[in-house]
């Protein structure tokens, strides 16, 4: 699972008001090279929750993202490269996602988070 997906995911358990961002418990992280597309990154920049991305990247062992970002930084190639690496190339292979409110664990197995809810959580 890429951090792009992590940045979109939130906890869906009934009664949770703010299930975002999910805390990452990383047991195994993979890096898979992906094609860099500047236009896509520029579009995604406005949708990504920056703080969540920085925190997520840190918990995956990548801490070269600036703490805060502005749209003007999209001009910098260096910034785009880092953004791309964090968003598209870091994969959470094994571990878990933890709801910040309830502490509910969603296990991640072979890169696939199990977001299935129990019957009493719907």
């Amino acid at each position: 699972m890429r951090l792009l997906t992590h940045n979109m995911l939130s906890c869906n358990v009934k009664g949770v008001t703010n299930g975002f961002p999910l805390i990452i418990q990383a047991d195994k992280v993979l890096e898979k090279p992906a094609e860099l597309n500047h236009d896509f990154l520029r579009n995604m920049f406005y949708k990504v929750d920056w703080k969540a991305l920085v925190d997520a990247a840190k918990s995956m062992g990548y801490s070269e993202l600036p703490e805060s970002a502005e749209a003007s930084m999209l001009e910098s190639l260096d910034f785009l490269n880092r953004f791309h690496h964090a968003l598209m190339e870091l994969h959470l292979e094994e571990g878990a996602l933890i709801c910040p409110e309830t502490g509910r664990k969603f296990p991640v197995d072979k890169g696939i988070p199990n977001m299935l809810l129990h019957e009493d959580e719907v």
Partner: protein, 290 residues
């Protein structure tokens, strides 16, 4: 279509390891799936500027539909309930991210992040109650409600569906409309029982020019765009939009009245049922304090 898998078992059980492999190794299914997803992508009508979009593939299975999205350069996230199908997708090294989840439980995604969503032959599964806790109406509501939230304003969602009957189609459509979507059904090849395909084209946000429903494909594979041709037989688009008049309520405020009650009581007596005797209180309205 000889059999309907959704009548046999719940999706997470029906698509076990053998079925998942069978599904993905059949070249016929692969061909159909990729054609369906290509058409769905076309109906999604994303702006043609070469910028990759973030799409959601609901019921992605082994990633056959996702492959079409990747080929067109888009970034996608796939959701499926069957672990076996996702395992096959992993083996096939699909480019999108995969999630194990149940669409009937609602999508756990942030609001307004998706540029579009497609779903190939999946939504009709929601019409089945596979567990005692399942209520199709509520599951459809949860699904469409959460999808509406995650889509960006003006974004589209295209679902290829195989509704079992008219009631199912109505159920799916009305749930979508209730969630706030505008749009309708596009039917490709309406006169062929085999290649007939239905697509639900939904737009997020208020109705505008972009929410008009595109035309379906005719028998010859061409768009039948000319409405004024007078060829009513070949009209391929059936539109049911959210602004259609609601069914008028028959009962007026007064209720049925004494006459009607007396008639019914008489009928019941003739049948031999025990019916309370008529009195001055028969069919009288209760006082408001009740």
């Amino acid at each position: 279509m000889a059999s309907r898998p959704e009548l046999l078992a719940p999706p997470e059980i029906f698509y076990d390891d053998t079925e998942a492999r069978k599904y993905t190794s059949s070249s016929r299914i692969i061909d159909i799936q990729s054609k369906l997803s290509e058409r769905a992508l076309e109906l999604l009508a994303l702006p043609d500027d070469g910028i990759p979009r973030l799409l959601l593939d609901i019921g992605c299975g082994s990633g056959l539909s996702g492959e079409t999205l990747s080929e067109n350069g888009h970034v996608w996230i796939g959701l499926d309930i069957s672990q076996s199908m996702l395992n096959v997708a992993l083996e096939r090294e699909v480019e999108g991210d995969l999630l194990l989840g149940d669409m009937g439980q609602g999508l756990g995604l942030r609001s307004g992040v998706l540029d579009g969503a497609i779903s190939i032959s999946a939504v009709q599964w929601l019409c089945n109650a596979d567990k005692s806790s399942h209520e199709p109406r509520l599951r459809l509501k949860a699904f469409f409600g959460s999808l509406y939230r995650c889509l960006a304003r003006g974004a589209r969602a295209v679902f290829q569906v195989y509704p079992e009957n008219i009631a199912q189609r109505e159920l799916i459509l009305s749930s979508a409309m209730r969630a706030g979507f505008a749009g309708g059904v596009v039917v490709d090849y309406p006169h062929s029982s085999k290649s007939r395909k239905e697509y639900l084209v939904l737009t997020c946000g208020p109705p505008s020019l972009s929410t008009s429903v595109p035309n379906g494909k005719g028998e010859d594979g061409e768009n039948s765009t000319d409405e004024s041709s007078g060829d009513e037989e070949n009209q391929t688009v059936s539109i049911s939009d959210r602004h259609r008049p609601r069914k008028k309520q028959k009962v007026n405020k007064k209720g049925k009245g004494r006459e009607w009650v007396m008639k019914k009581k008489e009928q019941m007596r003739k049948k031999g049922n025990v019916v309370p005797p008529d009195s001055k209180y028969t069919a009288r309205k209760r006082k408001s304090r009740f």
